[in-house]
Amino acid sequence: MTPGTTTPADTAIAEYLGDLRERLLGLSTERRRELVQEIEAHIAHARSELDDPFSEAQVRTLLERLGTPAEIARAAQYGDDAAAVVSPPTATAFEWREPAAIVLLLFGGFLALVGWLVGLVLLWASPRWRLADKLVGTFVLPGGLVTSAVVLGIAAPPVVCFGTCGSSDSGPSTIQSVLVLAVVVSPLLTALYLALRLRRAP
């Protein structure tokens, strides 16, 4: 190798040692210098035994076997030897707010709309739904199933009496019936939609 040329392998090593030095700043100068020197010597020796000391891939593998600067620093600071055991992430407690919001938006309107309003507050306060979800939850359908009931109550008579009570012989059009049905069913669809959105990773 021409003296003075820096290969990617050299850069990888320099970065590694620089990172290590930084992480050891909590140690005394003497200990830090000694440890870095030892690691440096180790790398040099291990590198000389590689099939290709200038191969970046082989050097990186070598560094991986050495462990991350973080692991070495941790061992130095806490007197640990082998790399610390990684503890499993603690299970998150069951979140009741989101299911409650969905239920209240759906049925809360029957409690003089107050229940629905509480559901609305929970909906908007939740970090687990995006703005689009919250808008859907608010406007499809305001009041939830109680509104559906009202709409059904208003729209049903014309919709369900065929020809016997309509003024025009055309009666309720199919489109109207479908529209009414869609409005009535929409809170259920919204509830389903919000529930599915919860399943996305946070």
Partner: protein
């Protein structure tokens, strides 16, 4: 006792036993740090990162269990060699006795299990 608690226990045992394994590796003759690290790394399941052995060696030295000497090397800069001190010898012997008793007791009680 919780499922999966075995993992944490084994990790602790490993951490505790590792230092004695290092002492054992230098009990016959002074050895070069790199060789100690490589020998440990070659045994399945002992160390996950070789670099963490260096802080351990440093601690053993501070605790007086090992001593270091520098030797000239034909293939590069002087090398650091580790050897046991008298304290280290005593500590190792004590551990070996206790470990043999303990591990054979556990083996005995686990004997005959296929899992």
């Amino acid at each position: 006792m919780e499922p999966g608690g075995g993992d944490a226990l084994i990790a602790q045992l490993r951490r505790g036993a590792l230092q004695y394994c290092v002492l054992a590796l230098v009990s016959d003759e002074p050895r070069y740090a790199f060789d100690i690290v490589r020998d440990l790394g070659s045994v399945e399941g002992m160390v996950t990162s070789e670099g963490t052995v260096y802080p351990l060696l440093s601690r053993l030295r501070r605790d007086g269990l090992v001593a270091t000497t520098w030797r000239e090397s034909s293939s590069g800069p002087p090398r650091r060699y580790y050897e046991l001190t008298e304290t280290g010898v005593a500590a190792l012997e004590s551990f070996v006795t206790q470990w043999r008793t303990f591990s054979s007791a556990v083996d005995h009680l686990l004997a005959g299990r296929t899992v």
